[in-house]
């Protein structure tokens, strides 16, 4: 059998696949479940630093998906990619949660294990984790959120811009500056 294979840009290919699932999801529990499996880790990692415990973060993650399932029939892309739309829900849920629960967790005390299966053995030592946590705790809440949207949620600058309501250029500039500042502090 003849088969040709093409490599596609991962993000755009995933996006079109998302669109298909999003279209089917309101009437198809399997598609809804596939969206859940696709995004659950990213949402959990995004909300985890705003919660006092892993259990609390897991509960908040599930609330995000329940809200997503309820709102999905009303979702229209209109320039806002699905991932950005989902993380808007996650961000709002995290803000509401923080208001109600006043999280006491400190970034430099976030001691959950990294996911060794996902990072192929690249697990941070306790010391490095503490150092990165300390660096992050010196940033503003907005800067930490941008990094969280980029590294934990895995969003592109364009998607982050749609989440926080800024221009893509502004997000890119802010991210680059933040990384630069962290690098300088890390060296200092």
């Amino acid at each position: 059998m003849q088969s040709s294979v093409t490599f596609t840009n991962g993000r755009s290919a995933v996006a079109s696949d998302d669109a298909e699932l999003v279209r089917r999801a309101p009437g198809d529990a399997t598609a809804l479940g596939e969206l859940y499996q696709r995004y659950v880790a990213r949402v959990y990692r995004f909300v985890r630093p705003r919660c006092n415990s892993a259990d609390e973060a897991a509960d908040l993650t599930q609330q995000v998906f329940l809200k997503m399932a309820e709102a999905l029939p009303r979702y229209r892309e209109r320039g806002v990619p699905f991932a950005a739309w989902l993380f808007r829900i996650a961000r709002n849920a995290a803000i509401d949660h923080a208001r109600r629960h006043r999280p006491t967790v400190r970034w430099d005390s976030l001691t959950d294990a990294a996911a060794p299966d996902d990072v192929e053995g690249f697990v941070l030592s306790r010391e490095v984790r503490a150092r990165i946590g300390a660096l992050l705790s010196e940033l503003s809440a907005d800067e930490r959120e941008l990094l969280s949207l980029r590294f934990a949620a895995g969003l592109s600058s364009r998607e982050i811009a749609a989440v926080v309501g800024a221009s893509e250029a502004a997000v890119k500039k802010r991210l680059t500056r933040t990384i630069q500042r962290l690098k300088e502090r890390s060296n200092g």
Binding site: S3, R11, E34, R45, A114, D118, V128, F151, A152, I179
Partner: protein, 343 residues
């Protein structure tokens, strides 16, 4: 290693900046926290809104149903919820029309919560169980019910792997369909005695009101036979190989065993696979093991079909969905048509 992870963020760090690369790799690992396994295994997705749409279940009808519930009990009212979930699964709808599903009709009440295991179905690929639940009247109503996470074993001690479940309703009435993957080792028709254990019920949504069980049911179901084909169909790219090794076609689901390999090294490949049929992702679920062995299970009714033609197969390599990788090739598309024999 740092370089590898930094390459996921080409817009944040220059390739000629080792300090920046190390920092970005450390940030990647810092944010890449382990996800509780229970969270991955138990989607909270509720189908109750969809079920209501399909049933034409307006608010007034719900109020009327609750009034009936007060008079005659919950079972008769919750049953339509279960019915909508069951028939919403095309594979289960098929077996119901073929009169292959069985009534189990077993009830247990623990801590004021009554679980009624209504029906079950088993074949060579999956086991599906549908139950209704009645919470105490005083239970805080919350439409975001999660109901239960269950374990299923058989008389041989086999533990069945959970597939996605769907649920409807909430407090005080709810319904859930649980799906489990049947072991690959036996595809002939036979009777199986199962034990279903539901350790806890949650009626009030995440973090809400929970009730401790367990609710335990032991029952016997006939398992319908599947038919096996061995397509030995291989396709490959410059770096990836995909081999269909076995297909088991059963009335409620069709299972595809696959192997992903690297063609230029012995390294394992893991990721997700999405077969496309008529331009759409084939409805179903699947998982891949670290050694590249994968299983795809579709609930599309294919029992009467002779072949299945895939337009293409999309393989998303592990890690690609985790971090932004705008410029990196993370998805392989194998163009078809790939004709898979089902007989």
């Amino acid at each position: 290693m740092a370089k590898q992870f930094a390459s996921l963020y080409p817009d944040l760090v220059e390739s000629s900046d080792p300090v920046g690369q190390q920092l970005v790799a450390d940030l990647h690992a810092f944010f890449h926290l382990a996800v509780p396994s229970g969270l991955r295994a138990s989607p909270p997705l509720t189908a109750h809104r969809n079920a209501r749409v399909r049933l034409g279940w307006p608010r007034a009808a719900l109020v009327a149903a609750l009034a009936v519930f007060a008079l005659v009990g919950a079972t008769y009212v919750a049953l339509p919820l279960l019915q909508s979930l069951w028939s919403g699964d095309r594979g289960l709808d098929y077996v119901t029309r073929a009169s292959l599903a069985r009534d189990v009709n077993a009830t247990q009440t623990v801590n004021g919560v009554t679980v009624h295991l209504q029906r079950g179905y088993a074949d060579a690929n999956r086991v599906a169980l549908g139950y209704t639940v009645e919470f105490p009247q005083s239970t805080v109503a919350d439409r975001n019910a999660q109901l239960g996470v269950a374990t299923l074993t058989d008389e041989r001690g086999t533990v069945y792997r959970g597939l996605m479940s769907t649920y409807a309703g909430g407090s005080p009435l709810g319904a859930q369909v649980l799906n489990f993957e049947a072991p690959a080792s036996r595809i002939d028709a036979h009777d199986i005695t199962f034990t279903l254990s539901i350790p806890e019920m949650r009626a009030g949504g995440p973090g809400g009101q929970g009730f401790r069980g367990p609710w335990v049911f032991t029952f016997t179901l006939p398992s319908a036979a599947g038919r096996e084909t061995q397509p030995a169909l291989s396709v490959s790219t410059g770096e990836l190989g995909l081999t269909f090794t076995r297909i088991v076609v059963a009335p409620s689901a069709t299972r595809f065993d696959l192997r992903m390999t690297r063609t230029n090294s012995s390294g394992a490949v893991t990721g997700s696979i999405a077969p496309l049929v008529n331009g759409r992702v084939l409805t179903g679920a699947g998982h891949c093991e670290p050694d590249g062995q994968c299983i795809l299970m579709t609930t599309e009714p294919l029992f009467d079909a002779s072949t299945l033609t895939l337009d293409a197969v999309l393989i998303t390599l592990d890690g690609s969905g985790v971090a932004s990788s705008e410029a990196s090739p993370t998805q392989v598309r194998i163009e078809g048509p790939l004709v898979l024999p089902l007989r």
